[in-house]
């Protein structure tokens, strides 16, 4: 009898627990899903339609270009060493990050992390009415700070890389703070100040690598126990305790993927909350819509400019930290290589923010897409197409996205007109 009672109790309890868990999960799911649901059903998704439209158009353009090249080579208009293979090229391009299964998916996610972060940086600034073309500079100083902390300090693993991330954020924030200060106090246009700060960041980083003892050495053995070392034109890498852990790397082909993408996604969620759920976000967005009106409404516009620049700088700096905190990543002491490897991530942030219509979720998708298409471009070499075609396609997509917002407005206006016309006709029939 007692056993039976106990059994009943256990049953009741487990049912209760299951119910509670279910409702909890439901709540969490709803909360998580709310953003996505709103994105897919609400105005968020509708405003994303132009981006999808332009991605489609851009890809069509890219494939068309590939076809033209194929035709030209077939007709012997110009000679190439290796004939491009049209169908293989298109498949490679469209397969993008899925060309080599989980391995390339992992590499795509690894690539996407800094892109998403710089996209968030530029996108957030856009939302608050500023054009943060300074993301490249903020990113580079972020990398530098992370590298310095990652080399000079000796700490245990989780604390070390976390501190590096913080250092990167702080450096980016300081770099952007200067621009914000110049804009709000001295009325210096943020675009010019940012461009200047980009160059200053690059040369400052070169100086720091040479003079703060983080330059790489190149040693040759010249005799028994004797090494001759000379300075190499690049920096050292971060210590292994400061490299980002590779939690899921085994699953993704065991090489590149680290938790950078997780950090980026956390940043996406945080930015979503800041923009849409806080008073601060509301104020900053209000300043983006109309600075004068927001000042009239009693908001401190000067403080808000500085604040939004600082937040944008933090994100770009974090992106820089994520980019450098890999066990084999170095910064090169040469302007071209520095621009190609680090600064360009910041400029990519502009495209991503534009493609992602400055919305955190859109930016995450746009960052993934850019990584995807770049990956496709890399694999396109196998079909004897230049990988630069991926960049051409991306830029065409951005151009179409500039047009498609207008196209979309035009289409929806026409639809609305048709609707009202139809309604009018129905009304007359009823009479």
């Amino acid at each position: 009898m007692k056993g039976h009672e106990l059994w009943n109790k256990i049953k009741a309890f487990s049912v209760k627990a299951a119910k509670a868990t279910w409702s909890f999960l439901k709540k969490v799911g709803l909360a998580c899903g709310h953003g996505l649901k709103k994105f897919f059903t609400g105005s968020g998704f509708r405003s994303a339609v132009p981006s999808f439209l332009s991605i489609g158009l851009g890809l069509v353009f890219g494939i068309f270009t590939m076809f033209i090249i194929w035709l030209l080579v077939r007709w012997k208009v110009f000679d190439v060493v290796n004939d491009p293979k049209f169908f293989l090229g298109v498949t490679k391009l469209l397969m993008g990050g899925f060309n080599q299964g989980m391995y390339s998916v992992g590499y795509m996610l690894y690539r996407a992390a800094p892109l998403i972060l710089t996209g968030l940086s530029v996108g957030f600034a856009f939302k608050t009415g500023l054009f943060n073309i300074g993301a490249p500079g903020q990113l580079v100083v972020g990398s530098l700070a992370a590298l310095l902390v990652g080399v000079k300090l000796q700490l245990a693993a989780p604390w070390h890389w976390m501190l590096c991330l913080l250092a990167g954020m702080a450096a980016g924030a300081i770099w952007a703070f200067i621009v914000g200060l110049f804009k709000s106090v001295f009325n210096v246009h943020e675009v010019v100040a940012s461009i200047m700060m980009n160059y200053i960041a690059m040369y400052f980083t070169f100086w720091a690598i040479e003079n703060l003892g983080i330059q790489n050495q190149f040693c040759i053995r010249t005799g028994p126990n004797r090494w001759t070392c000379s300075l190499a034109p690049n920096s050292v890498t971060v210590l292994s305790t400061a490299a980002l852990p590779k939690g899921l790397a085994e699953f993704f082909g065991g090489y590149s993927l680290n938790i950078g993408i997780v950090i980026a996604l956390i940043a996406v969620v945080v930015m979503y909350i800041i923009l849409h759920k806080t008073t601060l976000g509301y104020q900053l967005k209000a300043a983006g819509f109309n600075r004068e009106a927001s000042r009239y409404a009693g908001m401190n516009t000067k403080r808000n400019i500085i604040l939004s620049m600082v937040i944008a700088g933090m994100l770009a700096g974090l992106g820089g930290a994520v980019a450098i905190m890999v066990s084999d990543k170095r910064m090169f002491l040469e302007e071209g290589l520095m621009s190609a490897e680090f600064m360009s991530l910041g400029f990519d942030g502009i495209s991503i923010a534009l493609l992602g219509i400055s919305e955190p979720i859109g930016i995450a998708l746009a960052g993934l897409f850019l990584a995807f298409i770049r990956q496709g471009g890399d694999y396109m070499d196998l079909a004897n197409y230049m990988k630069e075609l991926a960049d051409v396609i991306t830029s065409v997509i951005i151009y179409f996205s500039a047009l498609s917002v207008v196209l979309y407005q035009w289409i929806s206006k026409r639809k609305a007109k048709k609707k009202t016309l139809l309604k009018g006709e129905e009304g007359s029939d009823e009479r």
């Binding site: 090249i69 210096v188 246009h189 461009i195 700060m197 040369y203 830029s395």
Partner: protein, 330 residues
């Protein structure tokens, strides 16, 4: 080295930086004064340089000796042809920006950014497809040792007529024409009205559409030309980049407060700073201080920031710059 010779050398290398910046900044000025921002100048410069340099490579004498034997006149004609072709290429390319931002009323930043992305990708893509590498090398050196008998004038001859290329005179002519056009002709004044208050201009019968198209195309022409001049002044090859000069030109424009002669001063100032930072080792007292070269390279940018702080309080930016013109908004 003799002091006066040092001054002349510094001046000449200042011109090398200053002239492309000046021409492109003048283009940007015309464009912004009509109410369209043009951040696409970086891309336009790349296209202009790419096409212009390709043209030069195609028509120049095909051996080094013959290329070196060209007279000043031949060099100058080749230079002007290249600049013209580059300018036309830039103009055609900027039509994309005009179409998006004026006809389609798209966001001007987005379309300009797209152009900035397209240009280097396209230039490198085509160069690699056609030439096998991303560099296009040419053989002509456009620098003229002495410009006729003008080089014999004591100081002026040394400054302006020795070891310079025609770009210097092109730049000065462009500036003067732009100034006369903007401030002394009816069309120019109308163009500025479009940038200040398009609705008022429209109500007085100015065709905003046409004026803005013209301004963007003109800036595209100057941008392409500036790109070509940058490419041939910097060396003997073009590798698909103009090193951010398009952005710097916009900085020069803002620094010059949207006024032609202040833009000239700004370009000169920046060019001078750049020259000092690049040739500090030739300047005795700077060389003695033993500062890292990287810090010297920061000079132009830091100096520009400081000057901007000092001069930005009274900004004369065109009021409607960057805003899409829509008849219905008033």
């Amino acid at each position: 080295m003799i002091f006066s010779e040092l001054i002349y050398n510094l001046t000449h290398s200042t011109f090398e930086t200053m002239i492309p910046l000046l021409i492109v900044a003048v283009g940007a000025m015309i464009c912004e004064k009509s109410g369209v921002t043009n951040i696409a100048l970086e891309g336009i410069m790349i296209i202009g340089a790419f096409v212009g340099v390709w043209f030069v490579k195609a028509v120049e004498p095909q051996t080094l000796i013959l290329a070196a034997q060209q007279t000043n006149l031949e060099k100058s004609i080749l230079f002007l042809e290249g600049a013209l072709i580059g300018g036309i290429a830039g103009m055609l390319f900027s039509w994309l920006h005009a179409y998006a931002s004026i006809s389609m009323k798209a966001d001007q930043t987005i379309s300009a950014t797209a152009l900035n992305l397209i240009a280097p990708a396209l230039a490198v893509f085509i160069a690699r497809s056609v030439f096998g590498g991303k560099q296009i090398a040419f053989k002509t050196s456009f620098k003229m040792q002495e410009v006729g008998s003008l080089a014999n004038i004591p100081v002026i001859g040394d400054l302006f007529f020795k070891s310079v290329n025609v770009g210097l005179y092109v730049g000065i002519v462009v500036l003067l024409i732009a100034w006369i056009f903007l401030y002394k002709t009816k069309t120019g004044l109308r163009l500025m009205a479009c940038g200040e208050n398009p609705h008022a201009a429209d109500s007085l019968g100015v065709n905003i559409f046409r004026v803005r198209y013209g301004a963007v195309l003109a800036s595209g022409f100057l941008g392409g030309m500036g790109g070509f001049i940058f490419a041939v002044s910097a060396g003997k090859e073009f590798d698909g980049t103009v090193l951010g000069y398009g952005f710097l030109a916009i900085a020069v424009l803002i620094f010059g407060n949207w006024k032609p002669f202040r833009v000239l001063f700004a370009a000169f100032f920046f060019g001078l700073m750049k020259t000092i930072s690049a040739s500090y080792s030739a300047i005795p007292f700077l060389n003695d201080m033993e500062i890292s070269p990287h810090l010297y390279k920061m000079i132009p940018y830091v100096a520009t920031l400081i000057v901007l702080v000092a001069s930005s309080k009274a900004s004369h930016a065109p009021k409607a710059a960057g805003k899409i013109y829509d008849k219905g908004t008033r």
